[in-house]
């Protein structure tokens, strides 16, 4: 599945190598950012509202039965900001944006647009890959912050409205503020930044190496999404382990 991990790492290296000149491409990056926001903001909102809600729904009754309802806010919030928001937003972006990038670069490859760029002495990595990877790695952490807020709200709504839970708004957010630390949020943001680079580089690599006409584009899109998601979930474990020391961070 990852025979081309070496190639992907090389593409990552070449992308990082072109970073110093990326400021010149700020207009292209802004365009990409706009596209990403446009394509994913509404979905991210819906998704995180329901994830927060279902977290509260799964854990709330258990805690309330044992008289621990007051710690629901912190539980939902931590689950969201350290784990579910980064992973779910990354999966969403892989499906929504990674696939589109693979399809776009794939069709450019198949219809010789990439070859044409090279004959014009334009480096396709700098022209196509760098702005996309930068845009996605700005967009995903922003989406995660947004998803945290919406998800916390979703949890609070369910906690307050479900009569088997019945945790008040103020108790929920009071506990949340007591439990959640800046380091917990940073933890999720660091993860999402890494996921974003994975999605960007894997999808662009898949697109650039597309062969075999329109069917090849379809194959590239599938591979880009599946490989990104697998890598995200594997790296999620690794990063969680690496970031454990961060847990003794500062409070709000």
């Amino acid at each position: 599945m990852f025979q081309n991990l070496g190639e992907i790492l090389m593409l990552l290296g070449a992308t990082l190598g072109s970073l110093p000149r990326a400021w010149q491409d700020r207009r292209k990056i802004a365009e990409q950012l706009f596209d990403i926001g446009n394509a994913s903001l509404f979905m991210a909102c819906t998704l995180s509202l329901f994830i927060g809600g279902v977290l509260a729904l799964q854990t709330g009754p258990l805690l309330a039965e044992r008289g621990l309802g007051s710690s629901l806010g912190g539980l939902v919030a931590l689950g969201l900001c350290k784990e579910l928001a980064p992973v779910m937003m990354a999966v969403l972006i892989a499906g929504r944006i990674g696939s589109a990038m693979a399809a776009e670069l794939g069709s450019m490859r198949v219809y010789q647009e990439i070859d044409a760029l090279r004959t014009l002495n334009i480096n396709p990595i700098r022209y196509l890959v760098v702005p996309r990877v930068i845009a996605i790695s700005i967009a995903l952490p922003c989406l995660v912050i947004f998803a945290n807020l919406v998800g916390w709200l979703g949890g609070a709504l369910v906690a307050g409205l479900n009569d088997r839970i019945g945790v008040s708004w103020s108790s929920y957010f009071g506990n949340l503020r007591q439990v959640v630390e800046v380091s917990d949020i940073a933890n999720g943001l660091i993860k999402s930044f890494v996921f974003a680079i994975v999605i960007g580089v894997v999808s662009c690599h898949q697109g650039l190496t597309t062969i075999g006409g329109p069917r090849g584009i379809g194959r590239s899109v599938t591979k880009a999404v599946v490989n990104s998601i697998v890598l995200i979930l594997v790296l999620d474990y690794v990063l969680t382990r690496l970031l454990l020391p961060l847990d003794k961070g500062w409070r709000f």
């Binding site: 010149q24 776009e104 450019m108 219809y111 010789q112 647009e113 070859d115 044409a116 760029l117 090279r118 004959t119 014009l120 002495n121 334009i122 022209y127």
Partner: protein, 256 residues
């Protein structure tokens, strides 16, 4: 040939071999393309013409043998900086996400070679050269006909003031009149700029109309190379067949 400006660069091809997997495509090509000439490469479909062109511009690298452009290896990094090379792809190769003007000016704007006002001027100039008016500048490639796309691709290639320009099937998919115009344009450009011009085609009229020399590629080998007159006189049965091929309906055959 004497009337052309001396801008072109020569190309030399030495024992060029290339296979894809088990399939040998180029089997030891060996010839020179002279500075400033129009060199036409003919041959049946699948004989390796496009693969050969892609080697010239560095998009493929040979399995063995070498190509030298103005003395530099075609695969070396610097060749694109040292010489101005351009290629017009079989399908045009225009970027569909960019307008015609952006496509034509892409190299200048992306590599920051000229200020924007100057780029606009150059773009308009090159579009005019291929007989496209300012009204197409803001269109997108998918809003153009096949012939217009090809002309935009030529305009884009001309922006670099190339010393070596490659055309892959410049007249395929075009009606005979537009094909004629494109042929004339290639000829005019060559006379005006003196760029070494390599044209791949199976359009006999185009080949014999513009070529200084013609090479005939068959199954990865050059089976004939010479002036149009020499190719016409070539004894190789396949070339004779290729040049004589025509629709033969029973009626026309009967009429002789």
């Amino acid at each position: 040939m004497t009337s052309r400006p001396p801008n072109g660069i020569p190309v030399s091809i030495r024992s060029l071999r290339k296979s894809f997997g088990q399939q040998p495509v180029l089997k030891g090509l060996e010839f020179e393309i002279r500075s400033g000439e129009i060199f036409v490469l003919m041959g049946p479909s699948g004989s390796g013409k496009s693969v050969f062109l892609r080697h010239l511009i560095g998009l493929e690298s040979p399995d063995s043998g070498e190509i030298r452009i103005g003395g530099e290896l075609a695969t070396s990094e610097g060749v694109g900086d040292r010489f101005r090379l351009a290629m017009v792809f079989q399908s045009g190769g225009l970027l569909n996400s960019l307008s015609v003007a952006e496509n034509v000016g892409l190299m200048l704007s992306e590599l920051r070679l000229k200020p924007p006002a100057e780029i606009d001027r150059i773009v308009a100039d090159r579009l005019a050269l291929v007989k496209l008016g300012p009204e197409v500048a803001d269109k997108y490639p998918n809003e153009l006909s096949g012939g217009m796309r090809k002309r935009v691709a030529i305009a884009r290639a001309l922006v670099a003031d190339p010393q070596l320009i490659l055309f892959d099937e410049p007249t395929s998919e075009l009606d005979p009149l537009v094909a004629l115009t494109i042929g004339r344009e290639i000829l005019n450009l060559n006379r005006r700029t003196g760029a070494t011009t390599v044209v791949v085609t199976h359009d006999r009229d185009l080949a014999f109309g513009i070529a200084d020399r013609i090479a005939f590629l068959l199954e990865g080998n050059i089976i004939a190379l010479g002036s149009p007159a020499e190719i016409r006189a070539a004894q190789h049965p396949l070339i004779q067949e290729f040049l004589a091929a025509d629709f033969q309906t029973p009626e026309s055959a009967a009429m002789g």
